[in-house]
Symmetry: C2
Subunit: 515 residues, 2 copies
């Protein structure tokens, strides 16, 4: 991992006062995206991987996939050599994989602050917040429909979160804004309240086009056509169905050189077989078809191998999170993505819990750890997810975002140089001694251990006197502290004005629609 | 993983009533210990491992280790070829590793119920509960000193916990029993309230001897001398100090063919260098010295390579848990243990939190996942640990024990047979279909997904109507349900009487001591 950007940290003159100053200083530093210096966890052997790859080709060739309401897509497939009957596209063995080979293996997504550009692919891991919840939750207000004010608050929290590299997309659904105009306000918030990279709209092809046009104002038209400035989420309607809305958005983005995550959305046992092997096979077939299609639209278009996978509680039908089956699929899909030389999106702060309680934390930690070790390059939903994605939680956002710091440290791997070997310290201290005061400890203690900025490590008595607060209470306090110290990043007034004008004109051009 | 023992499960005749009966049936089933069918996570490369091994030999040769108040140990070392000056033992390069080579690579620890024997070593993972806390905590009673009644309640919970293979040792300190007699009551509880394997006393060599004698009553004298029936915890006083109490207990156990975990107890930055590499080097040197010593006492004595490692909050000096540095050390130590062909003990349900809240669950999940992937063979503290080990929590015991089920499923690996490939199901369902009703799902859904018995997956509205309970409240209910349905496993009345008599005589033979 590269060092965090510490330019804006208050530097004291040393000693206790300086440490206190550091602890209370406003922090708008952001860590560089993770570059892993640890291996990936390879759960499948070569034989299993080959079975999956062979079977996925069989699915494409014999069962095929459906491109719905999309004659242009069917025409593209026909021209490429697929067997098209009605809306069913059967893809001869090997064709999809061959088409996928023009997709780049790494994507640089730019941000308006050039230092916050991210690389997606290779050994990188880029962390982005929760996406899509119609509800929000916090300790004060409970669970309620999300509004634009909530959306802006989440964008601010994301900007203030050191371990979050990306501002995300629909961090919550601003349900008080007409559906056909939401994307404009959401993009405006990401562009003006943060300087981290962000996602574009996918709910209509026209909204994807609006997203491109707003980026042209923010970055300049030529820059957008030659660089990736948005990563957007294209869900596959599993099993094996590609609808016209999502494909329409993908077409707009591919044509404009913008990145798409092509992502099966799978609740195991419902949208895919109950078995891990069967699900992996279907995921691979779906991703190959989707990415092949993106390359038919524009060879070389930047795309990401996506996999959103949960298991299901067979008693109630509810999706379940942080489960071992989901982990196995995520590990396996990572191997499949690497064999295609494509960036990989999966994992997140997943939980089915209704509260940011112990269940939420167990399930989330299971998912986050698995995401790091499975080689994920882009982790959407890395913080703030609650209740199966129905809810964006303010407290859980800062709890999860704090844990992302642990992933950074873990990914650094283990330094093996002479200083790290510490043989001098071991000799200095000797049997029965104590390391706290030794020179090696004094020289290294500041950077030696990752430290949570949310959790409590105080002795029981102190903690008790301070109100015996649980993690939820500590997180409520942290949310408020981050919001109180938020400082909007500067933006060229001319660009701000042009964006405002674009949004006003667009809004005026159509009546409100709430469907 | 082997299948859970389901002999005692109520079997219904199918349909909803049968499923309800299954859900409410008394369950005293215990899963077989985990046999991993997944790889270990290898964080260190060959070069780093060789540096550590070379440096550890340098520590032993040049700095040496201290065997305190133990002239017999010094004499054993002198005879073996070490350089002994005062209490400092310097071990020539290669000697410790050579002595360790007589230790067995796998240990079968027997239980009085033969089906509950466990194998420690190879690809196994045996799970045992928290060890050592002087306090207990539950929702009703808060935090308080532990008593013998609490101890017995924990042993019952352990017996009723399906995913726990081992009854453990000092699940909490029964502070209402004199210190010099506690071990008798604790062993009696493990022997009579459970039929799972357990641990012996290490607080005095004489108490280790009592433990052996009680096992001779339970298992028969000859059986004990030729089989391992206890695994006991021998902590090294890091850095590099072996005190006479712990070594005295180890001597008793080694002489009687009973297993010892030889375990550095390390808070990084205090008892070992602040660096991961330095800590691993010291851990290896300490374990090699301790295990070599066990083999000097009795070649072939069963021993386990232990590593208890936490990091430290350098602001407050408090130990911290579930941190990336501890994970890195645990992964690395696993590699070192495997290169010595020794069973490995590490990880646990670690947390510094004062409550079983989100902090506790994040930290615990980080540790449990790491424990599985680092190749741990014996995981002490696998459930119930709270507040840095000062507290045994009833609610956290059942929360953690539930998560251990996820480890079992994860460790099974991924089935790759034709049924698991599910190509028939994928063809049957086709694009746009639904898997819930298909034949493959119906045939496999019961075993397809691991299911928590603590967490809530209900829709928000149902959950809300039922009282909007958090994980703590759900766990309180589960503790009560397990205690209410507890059934004591049968024990030969003659053995029970002989054990009772032994304990009475021992207690009568000495005055109470509370120090």
């Amino acid at each position: 991992m590269a060092e965090a950007d510490t330019r804006r940290r208050t530097r004291g003159s040393g000693g206790g006062a300086a440490r206190r100053a550091e602890r209370t200083a406003v922090s708008v530093e952001t860590a560089r995206y993770i570059e892993r210096n640890i291996p990936n966890f390879e759960i499948l052997n070569e034989e299993a991987l080959e079975i999956i790859e062979t079977n996925a080709e069989t699915i494409l060739e014999e069962i095929g996939v459906a491109f719905v309401n999309n004659p242009a897509a069917l025409e593209r497939w026909r021209e490429a050599g697929a067997d098209v009957m009605g809306e069913r596209v059967r893809i001869p063995r090997g064709l999809a994989r061959k088409l996928c080979s023009t997709a780049p293996s790494r994507i640089i997504q730019h941000a308006r602050n050039p230092e916050r550009a991210v690389e997606i692919g290779g050994r990188s891991l880029v962390l982005a917040p929760v996406y899509g919840p119609p509800f929000v939750h916090d300790a004060m207000g409970g669970r309620r429909y999300a509004t634009m004010a909530d959306f802006e608050k989440f964008v601010k929290l994301g900007y203030m979160s050191k371990w979050l590299h990306h501002s995300g997309g629909t961090v919550c659904e601003p349900t008080d804004i007409p559906v056909n105009k939401r994307h404009l306000d959401m993009l405006m918030a990401h562009m003006t309240l943060s300087d981290k990279p962000f996602m574009g709209s996918v709910t209509e092809p026209s909204r994807a086009q609006d997203s491109v046009e707003m980026c042209e104002i923010l970055f300049g038209k030529e820059f957008v056509q030659t660089n990736t400035v948005m990563t957007s989420l294209i869900n596959i309607n599993s099993p094996m169905t590609f609808d016209d809305v999502m494909m329409g958005a993908l077409e707009v983005y591919a044509q404009n050189n913008q990145a798409c995550i092509v992502s099966p959305f799978i609740v195991g046992g419902a949208m895919a077989p109950v078995s891990v092997m069967g699900t992996l096979t279907q995921v691979l077939a779906e991703v190959m078809a989707g990415i092949a299609y993106s390359q038919l639209v524009r060879p070389g278009a930047p795309v990401i191998f996506g996999a959103f996978v949960t298991s299901i509680d067979m008693n109630s039908g509810a999706p379940t999170f942080g489960t071992p089956e989901a982990s196995q699929i995520t590990y396996g899909a990572g191997q499949l993505a690497r064999r295609m030389n494509l960036p990989y999106r999966s994992a997140g702060s997943f939980t089915g819990s209704k509260l940011p309680d112990a269940q939420a934390a167990y399930e989330t930690a299971n998912s986050l750890n698995m995401g790091l070790l499975s080689g994920v390059n882009f982790m959407l939903h890395a913080c703030g997810w609650l209740e199966g994605g129905l809810v964006a939680s303010f407290e859980k956002f800062v709890m999860d975002a704090d844990q992302l710091g642990a992933l950074h440290k873990m990914a650094q791997g283990i330094a093996t140089d002479e200083d790290a070997q510490a043989m001098g310290a071991i000799a200095e201290v000797g049997p029965g001694g104590h390391y706290l005061g030794c020179a090696h400890t004094q020289a290294n203690f500041k950077s030696a251990f990752w430290r949570s900025e949310v959790f409590d490590f105080k002795p029981y008595e102190t903690w008790s006197e301070e109100g015996a607060r649980d993690t939820m209470a500590l997180a409520t306090e942290r949310v408020q502290r981050l919001i109180d110290t938020y400082q909007q990043p500067a933006l060229d007034p001319g660009i701000h004005e042009a964006l405002t004008e674009y949004v006003s004109k667009k809004k005026a051009s159509m009546p409100d629609a709430f469907m």
